[in-house]
C-alpha cells in the first residue's frame, strides 16, 4: 500500500473513486432543474453527463481533486437567474464556468472558499462582464486573483460580494459625464 502515495497510482485510484460517485451525483443534479426551470433553464440527463465528463477533464487539467460532490450544483443555483444565460447557451456556459472556477481556485492559491469565489464570479459576470466569459476570466478574475496572491483578504468580510469595483481599471458610470452629455443633447 506504500505505492498508493505514488502519483500515478494515486491518480488512478482517485479517478476510480470519482467514477463511482459520478452516477450518484448525476441523479442529484437533475434535482437542480426544479430551481432553474423557473428561469427557463434546464438540463437533460445527457447534458448533465456531459457536464460531469467536462468536470473530470477540468479537474485533471488543473490538477485538482474532488472527493465528495462537485461544485456544479452551487454553480447552477448561483447562475440560473442570470440575465445573460439562455437555454441554448446554458450547457456551454456551465461548462466554461466550471472550468473557470477550478482555474481560479488555483490562481487564488485556495485562499478563497467556494462560496466567496462563486459570489465574485456571479457579481462580475452580471454587473461588469455582462455575460462575457472571456472578460470574466481574462480581466476581472485575473485582477482579483493577483490581489489575493499579494495578500488581499477583504472578500472574507463581504463573502465575495461587490469585490471587483476596487480592482477595476476602467472608468464606468460617471454621473457628471452623463449630465454633461445630456445637457448638450437638450441644448
Amino acid at each position: 500500500m506504500g505505492n498508493l502515495i505514488q502519483k500515478e497510482t494515486g491518480d488512478t485510484l482517485l479517478h476510480a473513486l470519482m467514477e463511482a460517485q459520478q452516477t450518484k451525483e448525476e441523479l442529484a443534479l437533475l434535482q437542480c432543474n426544479t430551481a432553474s426551470e423557473q428561469f427557463g433553464l434546464s438540463l437533460t440527463k445527457e447534458e448533465i453527463h456531459a457536464l460531469m465528463e467536462c468536470r473530470k477533464d477540468s479537474l485533471k487539467k488543473y490538477q485538482r481533486v474532488e472527493f465528495g460532490k462537485s461544485i456544479l450544483d452551487k454553480l447552477i443555483y448561483a447562475f440560473c437567474d442570470s440575465e445573460f444565460i439562455e437555454e441554448d447557451t446554458y450547457l456551454d456556459t456551465l461548462k466554461e464556468l466550471q472550468d473557470i472556477f477550478y482555474q481560479f481556485k488555483n490562481q487564488t492559491q485556495d485562499q478563497m472558499t467556494d462560496d466567496e469565489l462563486i459570489h465574485i464570479m456571479k457579481d462580475s459576470f452580471e454587473c461588469v462582464c455582462f455575460g462575457d466569459l472571456d472578460y470574466l476570466s481574462g480581466t476581472c478574475l485575473e485582477r482579483i486573483a493577483k490581489a489575493v496572491r499579494s495578500g488581499y483578504r477583504g472578500y472574507q468580510e463581504t463573502d465575495g460580494h461587490g469585490e471587483y469595483e476596487q480592482f477595476s481599471e476602467e472608468q464606468r458610470w460617471d454621473k457628471n459625464a452623463y449630465l454633461s452629455a445630456f445637457n448638450d443633447l437638450v441644448q
Binding site: M1, G2, G10, L14, L17, E66, F67, K74, N106, D114
Partner: protein, 305 residues
C-alpha cells in the same frame, strides 16, 4: 481485508480528512494537498499498533528503558507505555477505527516526546556550537509548537542542521523527532565522559571560530581523535596530540595497504564501543562504526594525494 474494500475505506478516510482540512468550505483541493492528506492518513494508520509492536521506528523503547538510557531524567516510561492504546488484534477493526487509534497514539507520542525533551534539555551540552544549539534549542522548540498531528503527522517540520552520527532516513514525523532526541542524548552521554575543556580545545584546534563555523558532528570528531590518541598510545580522554604525533600516525596509515586501513579502524571502534556500559549506547555506536571508520579512512586517502 480485501484490497478493493481497503482502497474504498482508505479513500473515504482521505475524503473525510479533506473535508476537515477545508472546513467543508471547498469541494476540491490541489493534487499536492490531496497527496499530503493521503500520506497523513497512511502515516496515522501505521501507528495503530500496540506499543511493543510499533515500527518502523528504530528507537527501541523497551531496550532504552531497560538500559536506563533515561536515567538522568524523570521521564515516566511506564506512563508512556500505559497511555498507548493496547489492542489485541487491530485486523478486526475498521480502517476508521484504526485511524482514530493511530491518531491518539501519535498525540500521546508527541506529548511524551515534548515532556522528555523538556527534561533532557538542561542536561544537554552543545559545547558552544551555534548550529548544535540552534537545532536543539530553537528548532526543536519550534517543532513542538507547530507539529500538526492531524493534517501533517508525517512532517517533522524542522531542518536537522546538526547531523547525527547515524541517521535513519526511513523515519518521518514524530518518529524522526523521537529517534533524533534519543540519539542526541546517547551522543551527549558519551561526550560527557571526556573533560569539557578537552572537547572545546579540540574544537578550537580543529576549526578556529568553531562556535560559528563548526558544522559537523562533535561526537565524530571526538571519536576520530580518540582513535589517533589510542594509536599514539596517548590518554584517550585528553584528546591531545601534538603535530609530531599526528604526522607519525598519518605516516603509519599511509604506509598501510588501503584495504587494511578501514579494518584496522573498525577493529578499534568495535573494541571501544563493546566496552560501553549500557546496551543502548552499545547498539547505537556499534551501528555507526562503518560510517566512522569509512570517514576516517577517507581522510587518510585524501592525505595520500
Amino acid at each position: 481485508m480485501k484490497e478493493e474494500a481497503y482502497i474504498s475505506e482508505l479513500l473515504a478516510l482521505v475524503a473525510r480528512l479533506t473535508d476537515r482540512y477545508t472546513s467543508m468550505e471547498s469541494s476540491s483541493v490541489s493534487y499536492e494537498t490531496a497527496q499530503m492528506l493521503m500520506e497523513a492518513v497512511l502515516y496515522t494508520l501505521e501507528h495503530d499498533k500496540k506499543a511493543e509492536d510499533f515500527h518502523p521506528v528504530s528507537f527501541d523503547v523497551s531496550s532504552a528503558i531497560s538500559s536506563n538510557a533515561f536515567s538522568n531524567t524523570s521521564f515516566d516510561t511506564e506512563s508512556y507505555r500505559n497511555t498507548l492504546i493496547q489492542i489485541e488484534d487491530t485486523n478486526e477493526l475498521s480502517l476508521a477505527e484504526r485511524y482514530e487509534i493511530g491518531y491518539q497514539n501519535i498525540l500521546d507520542k508527541a506529548l511524551h516526546a515534548k515532556q522528555w525533551y523538556e527534561q533532557l534539555l538542561p542536561h544537554l551540552d552543545t559545547y558552544g556550537c551555534q548550529h548544535y544549539y540552534d537545532t536543539l534549542c530553537r528548532g526543536m522548540k519550534e517543532f513542538f509548537r507547530r507539529y500538526d498531528a492531524r493534517f501533517q503527522p508525517q512532517n517533522a517540520l524542522i531542518l536537522f542542521d546538526y547531523p547525527l552520527l547515524k541517521w535513519d532516513h526511513s523515519l518521518q514525523g514524530i518518529d524522526l523527532i523521537f529517534d533524533y532526541l534519543y540519539k542526541i542524548s546517547l551522543e551527549n552521554e558519551l561526550l560527557s565522559w571526556y573533560p569539557k575543556y578537552a572537547v572545546t580545545d579540540l574544537l578550537k584546534q580543529t576549526c578556529p571560530g568553531y562556535t560559528q563555523r563548526f558544522m559537523d558532528n562533535v561526537c565524530e570528531l571526538v571519536l576520530h581523535t580518540s582513535f589517533y590518541c589510542a594509536a599514539a598510545r596517548k590518554p584517550i580522554r585528553e584528546l591531545a596530540l601534538d603535530r609530531y604525533e599526528e604526522n607519525k600516525i598519518r605516516d603509519m596509515f599511509t604506509q598501510m595497504p588501503q584495504e587494511n586501513r578501514k579494518a584496522f579502524v573498525t577493529e578499534f571502534m568495535n573494541q571501544l564501543f563493546t566496552s560501553l556500559p549500557n546496551s543502548a549506547m552499545q547498539q547505537y555506536f556499534l551501528s555507526a562504526v562503518d560510517h566512522l571508520a569509512g570517514n576516517l579512512t577517507r581522510r587518510f586517502s585524501v592525505d595520500d594525494m
